[in-house]
């Protein structure tokens, strides 16, 4: 199956004070058509930054290098106006904060119509009708009425549905969902995930799902990339990652999830803290927190070792 998105050796540097610091280092992954890839990691590991760099929505002055291939185009090489034709049209995006992601002074209908106007040239009644149709598709009751309302009149779950309607209005090939359910309560989370899955399978839309919630990953994803301190440390299918985790960080993540079946044991949190951008450890970035760290780990950074087909891990233990 062909890749919809291919990210190769992505590197992102932020300017803090006078110096550039590396937030994302040598990140590579790909998403096939109709597939859902989970990008997992703790807060601050570079997941959101990675997704924003795909859309080229990072603040000016951020250094990005590498390759982000969407189809046969390298998004990092496109002009701003070419990029605008891709945003919201070929790649849709939804964010973590449904409460603040909609413009408070525009009616819901108009916010959906905007995408249709920008990319499909739809105006007037046809655009309004399509917007209402989109609202109905994302499961909003009384769509005609809701289209006339303002964001503050809707609940968080409803607003996230509206965000999905906006992101899916132009039937994008790729949907980037940055922690789409983090701000919602659990029952609503399940509904939103269902909705994303159904819409995506209807249109064979690929999803890049960014989350720190392994439960969401297990539910939604075909493949998983685990990120730590700006690098992908392990990649594989959901089954491989959950049943046969290889990287000590992935194992640590899985051990810190409470289990409701089997013998009850104390949770095992990962000791220590995520390193800050200003002082990244030399060698393997996880070494200072790793229970299995070798002398080698503190000196040189490991490359990927292939565990089996599709499954690879970046750890000297596999050498």
């Amino acid at each position: 199956m062909s890749n919809v998105l291919e990210v190769n050796h992505l590197q992102i540097q932020f300017k803090i004070g006078e110096r550039y610091h590396e937030a994302v280092q040598d990140v590579s992954f790909s998403i096939r058509q109709g597939e859902t890839l989970g990008l997992v990691g703790e807060s601050g590991c570079g997941k959101s930054v990675t997704s924003l760099s795909i859309m080229r929505l990072l603040a000016k002055g951020t250094k990005i290098s590498g390759e982000v291939k969407y189809g046969d185009r390298d998004l990092l090489k496109l002009s701003e106006s070419q990029m605008r034709k891709i945003r919201g049209n070929e790649i849709g995006m939804i964010f973590q904060e449904p409460m603040t992601s909609l413009n408070p002074v525009h009616r819901i209908g108009r916010q959906i119509v905007e995408s249709l106007l920008l990319h499909r040239g739809l105006t007037g009644k046809r655009a309004a009708d399509t917007a209402i149709e989109m609202l109905a598709r994302v499961g909003i009751p009384r769509p005609e009425q809701i289209a006339q309302e303002y964001p503050h009149q809707l609940s968080g779950g409803m607003r996230q549905r509206v965000m999905i309607a906006i992101a899916m209005a132009c039937n994008p090939g790729l949907l980037i969902a940055d922690e789409p359910t983090t701000a919602l309560d659990v029952t609503i989370q399940a509904q939103i995930l269902d909705l994303m899955r159904n819409l995506a399978s209807e249109h064979r839309t690929s999803i890049l799902l960014i989350t720190h919630d392994l439960g969401v990953v297990a539910e939604m994803c075909d493949r998983v990339a685990v990120m730590y301190a700006g690098k992908i440390v392990e990649q594989g299918t959901v089954r491989q990652i959950f049943h046969n985790p290889q990287h000590p960080y992935t194992k640590g993540l899985l051990n810190s999830i409470p289990k409701i079946t089997g013998e009850r044991k104390r949770l095992q949190p990962i000791e220590g803290n995520v390193p800050s951008l200003r002082n990244m450890p030399q060698g393997c970035r996880f070494a200072p927190r790793c229970p299995h760290a070798l002398d080698k780990c503190r000196v040189s950074a490991p490359e990927f070792f292939e565990i089996e087909e599709e499954h690879k891990s970046q750890c000297w233990l596999h050498a």
Partner: protein, 306 residues
């Protein structure tokens, strides 16, 4: 909404009552005698006493206040001591000129300030932002009468494109409006700039970008309306004050408006005219505040007064 307006108008009555008392007290705190000013330097004490009696100035201050308020409730602002004309008539004769000037000045401020606010917000921390902001600071600190005279000299005298003062039609409005606009626009610019910068960091602006909206669309459709609230607040106070007279501009450009009327009334202790103009100012400020609160509802749908 209607009940909100009624409540606010009710509060207005209390505000106006307070202002009338304060003004009355302040006028009598000034050691000047209107009767003496009317009678002139060489008048005899008897004449002054007679004038004082005729004007009711020999009564105790509280009684004078009650008399004044009694007349006010019948819509009578009294008669000017100096012009011997009803105050209402005096104010009405100057009101047209003042409204013209106030609107001219206000529009000039907005036309200069708002585009510059958007410009400096878009160019924030770039050289062009620093240059424009520095120029705006200089413009803000220019004395109105100095700038007015300079403009008059170059565009009224050297190049006689505009009249040298007086209020005679549209062309005479340009220079005074421009003078006020240049000095007043900086406040609008800074308010809008800081408000725009705050809005541009909001999540919904990122959403608009993710939809593929261009920079112009983001500024005009998404950011501006959200950033306007502080500008509207200041703008309404500003127009309210302008409508009660712009003394410096009126004096510089020999514009016969309410500002000059009030100024002369204060100099001559013309109590009914002072009271009339002060109360008018108060009414205008209160009304424009109310109007602002109503305009908020149309700008930001989250604001409701139910």
């Amino acid at each position: 909404m209607l009940s909100f307006i009624i409540r606010r108008l009710g509060a207005t009555v209390i505000v106006l009552f307070g202002i009338s008392v304060l003004t009355f007290i302040l006028i009598y705190a000034i050691p000047s005698d209107p009767a003496r000013i009317i009678a002139g330097q060489h008048a005899s004490l008897a004449t002054i006493k007679e004038i004082r009696h005729n004007l009711g100035l020999d009564k105790p201050v509280p009684i004078q206040y009650i008399d004044y308020m009694g007349r006010l409730f019948h819509g009578n602002l009294g008669t000017s001591f100096i012009y011997n004309e009803p105050v209402t008539q005096l104010i009405m004769s100057r009101l047209g000129a003042t409204v013209e000037l106030a609107l001219g000045c206000w529009i000039a401020e907005l036309l200069i300030g708002i585009p510059l606010g958007i410009f400096t917000a878009r160019r924030a921390r770039k050289p062009s932002d620093y240059v424009v902001s520095a120029l705006a600071l200089i413009a803000m600190s220019l004395p109105v009468f100095w700038l007015g005279l300079i403009l008059m000299y170059y565009f009224g005298f050297i190049h006689p494109w505009f009249p040298l003062g007086g209020n005679s039609g549209f062309t005479s409005l340009i220079l005074p409006s421009l003078t006020y606009g240049v000095t007043g626009a900086a406040v609008y610019m800074r308010l809008l700039k800081s408000s725009m910068l705050e809005v541009m960091n909001q999540d919904y602006i990122r959403t608009a970008r993710a939809k593929g909206a261009g920079e112009n669309r983001i500024i005009w459709r998404h950011a501006l309306r959200n950033a306007l609230i502080p500008v509207i607040t200041y703008g309404s106070i500003d127009i309210g004050t302008l409508l009660s007279g712009v003394i410096l501009i009126e004096a510089t450009f020999n514009w016969n408006g309410l500002g000059m009327l009030a100024y002369q009334a204060i100099q001559q202790s013309d109590i009914p005219v002072i009271m009339g103009t002060v109360l008018l100012t108060a009414v205008l400020v209160v009304l424009f505040n109310l109007l602002t609160d109503i305009v908020y509802v149309f700008v930001d749908p989250r604001i409701r007064y139910d």
